[in-house]
């Protein structure tokens, strides 16, 4: 449930769940707990670097908790495995203790952390098992607001405000948004956008001056981890995504997921360039050069 209301002074208030954030014209600095995730330290450094630089420019301070661990990756969704949820709960609890909303940027981490937050508020048995294991000072039973970086751009900064900050617009560039599956599903828990007809990345593309290319395969699976076991399957999946984007006239594809980026680049057999959305964001804000120094 999102309620947007314009105040008399032109500033807008956005209320999402219990968190009310005031969005002022002057970009008051706001602090979020930032969860990068392991891949962003190794293979997906660009996703991280550009996200940090852009947040700074948009008036968002990102604080990384000292003790974060791997989110648990794909294993957390196994129903009977409590141990794999522990890491997600730890970072949710860190954010709660800091009194800050939590920001993630990798689709997979976001999926794991957001689903864990959803489950812990609804599944008492899981909550008590997790808390028995963790033995936190105060049991964690949910309450941390989790934003994906894109949601932060939409709901906290606002795409209209982002547009004003753009110095290198992608005017005339035809950009295809690739959502994959983890960013939007399951829709009830992730609650980011309509999983069958999403608009958030297209709106982002418009905000940085580009022209979004709508193609049907944008929310299909890239093949994910199956590339480890059955490369041909991953080639088929990512191939059909890329050819659908290419067919609709895309010049490039952007994504929020390191694994998607890997499959689309290495397995699809397509030469169409694939970037992280944060890279385009940094470039649009004129920060790309500086953040690479």
């Amino acid at each position: 449930m999102i309620a947007v209301s314009a105040d008399a002074d032109g500033s807008e208030k956005i209320c999402r769940g219990n968190t009310a954030v005031s969005r002022q014209k002057g970009f008051a600095m706001e602090t979020f707990t930032y969860y990068p995730g392991c891949t962003l330290r190794t293979k997906a450094k660009e996703l991280d670097t550009y996200a940090r630089a852009s947040a700074q420019a948009l008036g968002i301070a990102l604080e990384e908790p000292a003790d974060w661990q791997c989110c648990g990756g794909a294993y957390t969704t196994a129903k009977d495995e409590i141990a794999t949820k522990l890491s997600a709960v730890r970072v949710l609890n860190s954010a709660k203790e800091a009194g800050q909303p939590l920001i993630t940027v990798c689709s997979a981490c976001h999926n794991v952390i957001k689903q864990t937050e959803y489950d812990i508020t609804r599944d008492e048995e899981m909550a008590s098992k997790v808390n028995n294991y963790l033995g936190l000072a105060e049991p964690y039973t949910g309450g941390t607001k989790v934003y994906h970086y894109l949601e932060m751009l939409r709901d906290v900064v606002g795409f209209d405000k982002l547009k004003e900050k753009v110095v290198n617009p992608f005017t005339g560039r035809k950009i295809a948004a690739y959502y994959g599956c983890l960013l939007l599903r399951p829709a009830k828990a992730l609650a980011m956008d309509d999983p069958e007809n999403p608009t958030i990345i297209e709106d982002f593309i418009r905000a940085i001056g580009g022209t979004p290319v709508i193609y049907a395969q944008r929310n299909e699976c890239c093949g994910g981890y199956i590339t480890m076991e059955d490369k041909a399957q991953a080639q088929k999946r990512s191939g059909s995504v890329m050819s659908s984007a290419e067919d609709m006239g895309a010049e490039m594809v952007i994504t929020a997921c390191p694994l998607c980026l890997y499959n689309l680049k290495k397995n699809s057999g397509s030469d169409l360039p694939v970037y992280y959305f944060t890279e385009l964001l940094a470039e649009a804000l004129g920060l790309k050069e500086a953040s690479n120094e």
Partner: protein, 663 residues
């Protein structure tokens, strides 16, 4: 002293298998005031009723308790039997020892004990029963039909045929409803317009039928036999009495870019329009959202060309008020919106259409004059994929949990018609199950498969990907072959679920009728009273009660008409005497009862009372209109001073029952 008779029914083994009926009769025989206590195999049978009647006469009974099934089942039977033996029918009480006892318990000792308590409770109540007399209320000999689709038209024609006046209220500019948009009908493939339009004309020419088109029900008051309904006649900016339907205005209107609702937005109409050639009434309507005269004051072409002088840009909504004895709801259905189903690319590709859109694409009066062409490039499609159950039988909130019932048959019809007319076109149908229960229905579907070689594939379509060359990649699973398919299609047709019209919910509130969670009207009994609502005098016709095809709709429409005629034939109806009444001496005029009354039966009157000192004082007190009161009892609970009481269910009777249970 009361003389009460107790009669315990075995109901075959329904009761006797779990309740020791002999022990119940024996125990209740010792209750105070009980002079006779008997058990019998079937108390509702002729001889069972004789038993009761003879006992009333011989034992001079002043009250009767029947321990049997639910009062909904046989209370009336036993009341009639008592009346024929000279006992006031409201001195009969039913103790439900079947639904509320024998059917839900397994242990005989427990069930028997509970049956005795229930019997004792009824005895305690009947001690305080008083004879009640029903009042009569006159019946207005006129019916209202809400909705002018095939259901409403059929109901109105049948009621008019029986000699009663009927008004049809239709929200659109013309009657005809969804059936008017349909091309051919299953399973006979006769043309829908050819069988519908004569009925529309018949309705308009019948002197007993008044059609209020472009109108809505604004308010409903009253009760069975005597409803007062306010009808809003929306301004159509054309004088209905003057317009001849010549259509010159629609030709000359310069604003021709208005999406045509009748053709599902597949082509355009003018701002002043007649929905289709056979519209009834054939009168033009101005769409004020597009009319340039209405928006900017610059145009007036229609007014200039109209020789009848029917155009009136200043026309206002008007209201009429009319009395009715019966109301028939026939508000129909709509296909659901497919915004949330973009895996089928409905929002992305014009060649992905709904089945109702396909009807218009194939219709001679449709956007392509009857030739099936793709909306995108007007080319002839060579491969068409049908997807069934889009939004039907869905377990999440974006769709509907029920089967929409009509889709299997109309999809078979579409597939067959396409194969018949364009044999070079390959047709695929993806289904979960094919459901064809209906006369000649399965034969029809078999014909599509065997004779017309339509490819029926069990499985669902997972993804529809439109491509830049105009082709559509349809990815689906073939569950029987256990494989994934990709079909390179030219068109995709989605069988969207159907849902009740959006106007039904506010209407149900006005009529105080019930709806289910899907907004279909609830019938009074799912098997035995399928065309009546639970509110007396309100009847249900067509798809407003549940998904239905045309034959079923027409059958239900005639059944609803028969029920309405049965009511209208009576000069007066017997009212339920179990209504509320106020003890004026105790009433302090606080209005609590008026606020909770769902029927508007309570009003306040200023009445003069004699005070103890022989002076007089005017006090505001509640007064119940017994003809409007339905005896729900809400006011008796709300009344803080205990002035409100319900005849037949008085506060003292209910307390006596509670005492008897707790004894």
């Amino acid at each position: 002293m009361q003389r009460i008779g107790v009669f315990v029914c075995h109901c075959g083994t329904n009761i006797a298998a779990t309740v020791d009926v002999k022990a119940v009769a024996e125990a209740l025989g010792h209750e105070p005031g009980v002079v006779i206590s008997q058990e019998y195999q079937y108390m509702c049978s002729e001889s069972g009723q004789e038993l009761v009647k003879n006992a009333i006469k011989e034992q001079k009974l002043t009250g009767v308790v029947i321990c049997s099934c639910s009062p909904r089942m046989h209370e009336n039977t036993f009341r009639k039997a008592a009346a024929s033996a000279g006992l006031n029918p409201y001195l009969v009480e039913i103790a439900n020892i079947r639904e509320q006892c024998s059917w839900i318990h397994k242990d005989i000792a427990t069930a028997t004990e509970k049956a005795i308590i229930l019997g004792r409770t009824a005895v305690a109540k009947v001690h305080l029963n008083t004879p009640l007399t029903s009042m009569e209320s006159p019946v207005v000999k006129r019916a209202l039909v809400i909705g002018g689709g095939i259901a409403g038209i059929q109901t109105a024609l049948d009621i008019a045929e029986a000699g009663f006046d009927v008004d049809i209220v239709e929200k659109n500019p013309t009657i005809g409803g969804k059936m008017a948009q349909i091309d051919k009908t299953f399973p006979t493939l006769d043309c829908a317009a050819c069988i519908l339009t004569p009925k529309m004309v018949e309705a308009s020419q019948n002197e007993r039928i008044t059609i209020h088109s472009f109108s809505e029900v604004a308010d409903v008051k009253g009760f069975v036999g005597n409803f007062t309904v306010k009808i809003k006649k929306k301004a159509r900016f054309v004088d209905e009495t003057k317009c001849t339907g010549c259509g010159l205005c629609t030709e000359k209107c310069p604003m021709k870019k208005v999406p045509n609702e009748f053709n599902m937005g597949l082509d355009n109409r003018s701002a002043i329009y007649i929905p289709f050639a056979q519209a009834v009434p054939k009168v033009a309507t101005i769409d004020p959202n597009y009319c340039m005269m209405m928006k900017s004051g610059k145009c007036g072409v229609c007014s200039k060309v109209c020789s009848a002088g029917a155009i009136d840009y200043k026309q206002q909504d008007t209201f009429i008020e009319q009395q009715y004895g019966a109301i028939v709801v026939a508000t129909g259905f709509n296909p659901i919106k497919l915004d949330k189903y973009d895996e089928f690319a409905y929002n992305q590709c014009p060649d992905v259409v709904t089945s109702l859109e396909l009807e218009r694409l194939m219709n001679a009066a449709g956007p392509n004059g009857g030739t099936l062409l793709r909306p995108s490039d007007k080319s002839h499609p060579h491969t068409i994929v049908f997807v069934q159950c889009v939004g039907s039988r869905c377990d999440d909130e974006k769709g509907k949990p029920y089967c929409s019932k009509i889709c299997c048959m109309y999809t078979a019809k579409h597939a067959m018609l396409i194969r018949e007319k364009y044999p070079d076109t390959e047709v695929y149908v993806f289904y979960i199950d094919v459901r064809t229960p209906g006369k000649n229905f399965d034969e029809f579907y078999r014909r599509a498969v065997e004779q017309y070689n339509v490819h029926y594939i069990k499985g669902m379509v997972g993804k529809v990907t439109p491509k830049s060359d105009g082709k559509i990649d349809v990815q689906a699973s073939d569950l029987l072959a256990g494989e994934q398919l990709h079909i390179n299609a030219d068109m995709v047709v989605l069988a969207a679920a159907i849902e009740p019209d959006k106007t039904a919910r506010p209407l149900a509130t006005m009529l105080t009728t019930q709806m289910d969670t899907n907004d279909f009207f609830t019938e009074a009994h799912p098997k035995l009273r399928p065309v009546e609502s639970a509110t007396a005098g309100i009847f249900l016709s067509g798809a407003c009660q549940g998904p239905k095809d045309i034959p079923e709709t027409v059958a239900q429409a005639s059944a609803a008409a028969a029920k309405a005629i049965g009511l209208l034939c009576k000069n007066s109806i017997t009212c339920n005497p179990c209504v509320a009444h106020s003890d004026e001496l105790m009433c302090n005029g606080c209005s609590s009862c008026e606020k909770v009354c769902p029927y508007g039966a309570i009003t306040y009157v200023d009445k003069e009372f004699r005070m103890p000192d022989r002076s007089t004082k005017v006090r505001r007190v509640a007064s119940v209109n017994p003809a409007v009161c339905q005896g729900c009892g809400a006011c008796t609970v709300a009344c803080p001073s205990g002035a409100m009481d319900l005849s037949g269910f008085s506060n003292s009777q209910i307390m006596a029952e509670v005492d008897a249970i707790c004894k």
